[in-house]
Amino acid sequence: MEIHVDKDACVGCGLCVKDCPMHVYELQDNVSVAVRPNNCMGCLSCHEICPAQALEHRGIYAARRHYIDIKVCEMLRKVI
């Protein structure tokens, strides 16, 4: 698993550090660093909690997302 933190986007809030159950991140000089990427089990809670959308995971299994309502998305795409 490769985890990339966008250093320019990260605001150093530390939410990913607190939220990750596998203690993958550490704050170093006010920026999050993935110090234990091999401990990541791909839950993506950190993506959901990061206010800056600064995180990127490579080599992750993306779970099925049938709950997405395509009709609503199509409507939103027209508006946004």
Partner: protein
């Protein structure tokens, strides 16, 4: 009601299909796109049932759903080969759950084996990737870890008990939008 509308309805429900009782369907006739609305309906309904059950039964809801899941697990696994090794049982279980749930056996970096002994407990970490419960909860904006998750817990425990004859327990370690980490405790 206008005659035009009634004719339209008749038209919609009429086909030239010859249907024989001995026909065994080899594929699912509606296209995945057509199934989408049905799926959303089922997810919505399940979410509402669970929400109502929680409102009425409070914490007791978990016990009901866990029990239902466990019965289901025992029932389904009854037809599977009995075996003592947990590894083999988990393999059977993943076949059993295919299409609804997918999981893998997982371990943190610092552990040498998948069967972990810690604080007097023997357990295996399972990462659940695909999960119909998670999808239903997210479709309804409900929290993970509640009564609907208990159905899966019961299901896994029931199936493992049925296949191995050993008592087991499943605990949530973490729930996430893309995967959940669970601990299968062996007794």
């Amino acid at each position: 009601m206008s005659a035009g509308y009634i004719d339209e309805l008749h038209e919609a429900f009429h086909s030239d299909l010859v249907y024989r009782p001995e026909d065994i369907p080899l594929d699912c006739s509606p296209k995945p796109k057509d199934l989408e609305q049905t799926l959303h309906g089922v997810m919505k309904l399940n979410g509402l049932v669970i929400r109502s059950l929680e409102e009425i039964a409070g914490r007791g809801a978990n016990a009901v759903t866990y029990r239902a899941g466990k019965k289901f697990g025992h029932e389904v696994a009854k037809y599977f080969q009995k075996r003592e090794d947990v590894e083999g049982a988990l393999h059977e279980l993943s076949d059993l759950l295919r299409g609804q749930y997918s999981f893998e056996v997982w371990k943190p970096e610092d552990k040498e084996t998948f069967i972990i002994e810690e604080n007097g407990e023997t357990f295996i970490y399972l990462v659940f990737h695909d999960c119909i419960v998670r999808q239903t909860l997210r479709r309804n904006g409900l929290d993970q870890g509640g009564p609907l998750c208990q159905t899966l817990f019961g299901y896994v425990v029931g199936a493992i008990e049925e296949i191995t004859g050993r008592k087991a327990k499943l605990e949530i370690v973490h729930t996430g939008p893309n995967a959940c980490l669970k601990k299968l405790i062996l007794k």
